[in-house]
């Protein structure tokens, strides 16, 4: 301690001042252990009023801390440096002190430091590091359990974190036997180069601070989906997260589903058509052989069942194709009034059989053309009007067309049994029959897909469909809209 030599050359008053202002507790004993010098801090720490003249080895604090052996050694010339705690194990708060013994020619210099705060800081830091390590393990475990390739890069191209999946997805491990050559994004960019410019994509994500989602990239004999997101720290983008998902299997499944539906529908429809056609011909050309009413009834039932089954198959195929977005809507312009007339003509007989009126209220003024797929619009109209007739026993069905919010709105009002408030929000759902429980279902209601299909079709053409109003035993009004032709 060079400072000590300077200290000892100081005049006595200064010496005292320096001693009293040290952040340490200091005492000096002679070779027998008698204290010749001690500062206030030392008195305080040892709980003494007076220290000079007393023997170090006799101090109760020294005895309590089991420091006698060290001090003995110290007086004999051996330096020591120990950490002690005066607290009982049962005490919650623990204080720590460092006792340093420095042998000097005249005896022993004893320095005591309160290291409680230090120790606490070190402990806190250790806890914190442990927590971070746990966090990181958890994070790594999570990203490694992802099926998708996960990479985080910083703004300088360096890969900060990557998971195992990225290597297998991109087939990187086999290339050179090493995984990700330089630890930067270049190797991945190179790998994807033929199919996709990854570099521009992540640069764009960083620059614009926006996510980038590329739904399909063909890569060798697979298909990938790529997702990039900038990592924001306040307003700054400090890196990019890149996710690569192998969607090959999903695509294969999709195609298989498609194929299954076409084949299934074809295979189902052929025999159904044969049943329908043959029973119709029996009714028509062999009526004389069908004089027995029972027999006639059975043939009629077979014929009608075949039609129901055909409708079912058609509905299922429609739903499947609509849900997969595989239906292409033709862009046509047509007059809604004439289309409604077509439908009312086709359903006139059905309405007449129940003594119901079926009419189109002529529009007040000329209406613009609709911009939609005419056949599909006819399908929606047919479904709504057919339903209206089905659920009405007296009165009839009225159709009105008007302009609402720059769209053409077709309103179908019936005087039928109406729909209970509690059932109304079930109407356009898949398989929902807005009726009571499934055991009391009215068997003429069909598959429960009609309104669902109408909804998908309407929305697919840019329109909306809803139940405008309904009252039990008074009737209902359904409305669907179509966009207006631009001309």
């Amino acid at each position: 301690m060079p400072a000590l030599f300077n200290f000892l050359r100081q005049p006595k008053e200064n010496q005292a001042k320096i001693l009293e202002n040290l952040p340490l507790s200091l005492a000096q004993a002679n070779q027998e252990g008698i204290i010749e010098l001690a500062n206030v801090q030392f008195l305080k720490i040892c709980g003494l009023k007076r220290a000079v003249g007393r023997n170090l080895l006799d101090l109760s604090s020294i005895k309590k801390l089991n420091l006698k052996p060290q001090i003995d050694k110290g007086l004999k010339g051996q330096a020591f440096n120990v950490e002690v705690s005066p607290n009982l194990p049962t005490e919650r708060v623990k204080n720590f002190y460092r006792f340093q013994g420095i042998p000097v020619t005249s005896g022993l210099l004893l320095i005591v430091e309160d290291i409680t705060a230090q120790k606490r800081l070190i402990e806190d830091a250790q806890n914190y590091i442990q927590k971070l390590q746990q966090e990181q393990s958890r994070f790594l475990a999570s990203i490694n359990s992802l099926g998708r390739g996960f990479v985080i890069i910083d703004i300088k191209n360096n890969i900060l974190i990557k998971n195992n999946a990225i290597d297998s997805i991109l087939g990187l491990k086999n290339l050179e036997g090493n995984v990700l050559l330089k630890g930067d994004i270049e190797s991945i960019e190179k790998r994807l180069k033929a199919s996709f410019d990854l570099k521009s994509a992540w640069e764009k994500s960083l620059a614009e601070k926006k996510t980038v989602d590329i739904k399909e990239i063909p890569f060798e004999n697979k298909f990938f989906r790529l997702f990039l997101a900038p990592i924001m720290m306040g307003e700054e983008a400090i890196g990019v997260v890149i996710l690569i998902e192998d969607i090959t299997e999903a695509k294969i499944l999709d195609r298989a589903k498609d194929e299954f539906f076409s084949i299934a529908s074809h295979e189902l429809r052929t025999p159904l058509t044969a049943i329908r056609g043959n029973t119709a011909m029996i009714e028509q050309y062999f009526a004389d052989k069908l004089q027995d009413q029972e027999l006639k009834g059975m043939i009629t039932d077979i014929h009608e069942s075949s039609i129901r089954l055909i409708t079912l198959v058609n509905d299922f195929l429609d739903v499947s194709r609509l849900e997969q977005g595989k239906i292409i809507f033709k862009q046509e312009e047509f007059e809604t009034t004439s289309l409604v007339k077509e439908v009312t003509n086709e359903l006139k007989k059905t309405a007449q059989e129940k003594n119901l009126y079926l009419r189109l209220t002529p529009p007040a003024s000329s209406l613009p053309l609709a911009a939609a797929d005419r056949d599909r619009t006819k399908q929606i109209l047919y479904n709504l009007v057919d339903n209206a007739i089905k659920f009405t026993e007296k009165g009839g069905v009225e159709i009105k067309i008007d302009l609402r919010d720059k769209s053409l709105a077709v309103n179908i009002t019936d005087t039928g049994k109406g729909i209970a408030q509690s059932q109304q929000n079930l109407l356009f759902r898949k398989f929902q029959q807005a009726g009571e429980n499934i055991l009391t279902r009215d068997v003429t209601r069909g598959t429960g897909l009609g309104l669902y299909i109408s909804k998908l079709l309407t929305e697919g053409m840019g329109g909306k469909i809803w139940l405008e109003k309904s009252e039990e035993n008074r009737g209902s009004t359904f409305v669907f809209t179509l966009p207006v032709a631009k001309s």
């Binding site: 529908s265 074809h266 052929t270 044969a274 056609g277 043959n278 119709a280 055909i310 058609n314």
Partner: protein, 131 residues
């Protein structure tokens, strides 16, 4: 007497359409595939052809192409038979010169016969009804 040639690979459907046209008083000729169909057009010279779209070996569109490429055969009206899934092909057939397409499962046999009757009447009057 008018002669209808039905080119259809499914025996169920073939029998059904044969029946309706026989009942309606037409002479009916049958072919189970495209190749046989083309031969029977050349030799039999039908008044109207009912052509199925989905057939193995040579599908309906290929048969139609050959029909319309021949100066004699192209004059015979062709009605396409299809199921719902084949609608896009059927639209294509219309552009290739077929008169109309019929979705098999949506028509009763009598309705098919009526359509054919209409077309033939139109042809004899020199009018071709709209598809």
């Amino acid at each position: 007497m008018a002669k209808i040639l039905i080119i259809e690979d499914d025996p169920l459907m073939l029998r059904m359409y044969q029946k309706i046209f026989t009942f309606e008083g037409y002479e009916v000729d049958l072919a189970a595939d495209g190749q046989e169909g083309l031969e029977k057009v050349r030799t039999g010279k039908p008044t109207l052809i009912l052509l199925d779209i989905m057939m193995p070996k040579m599908n309906g569109l290929q048969v139609l192409e050959k029909l319309k490429a021949d100066p004699e055969m192209k004059k015979i009206p062709v009605v396409i038979l299809t199921n719902l899934a084949g609608q896009q092909d059927a639209e294509k057939a219309l552009m290739m010169g077929a008169i109309k397409y019929i979705v098999k499962s949506e028509y009763e046999p009598k309705q098919v016969a009526d359509v054919v009757k209409q077309i033939m009447a139109g042809y004899t009057r020199g009018e071709i009804p709209k598809a």
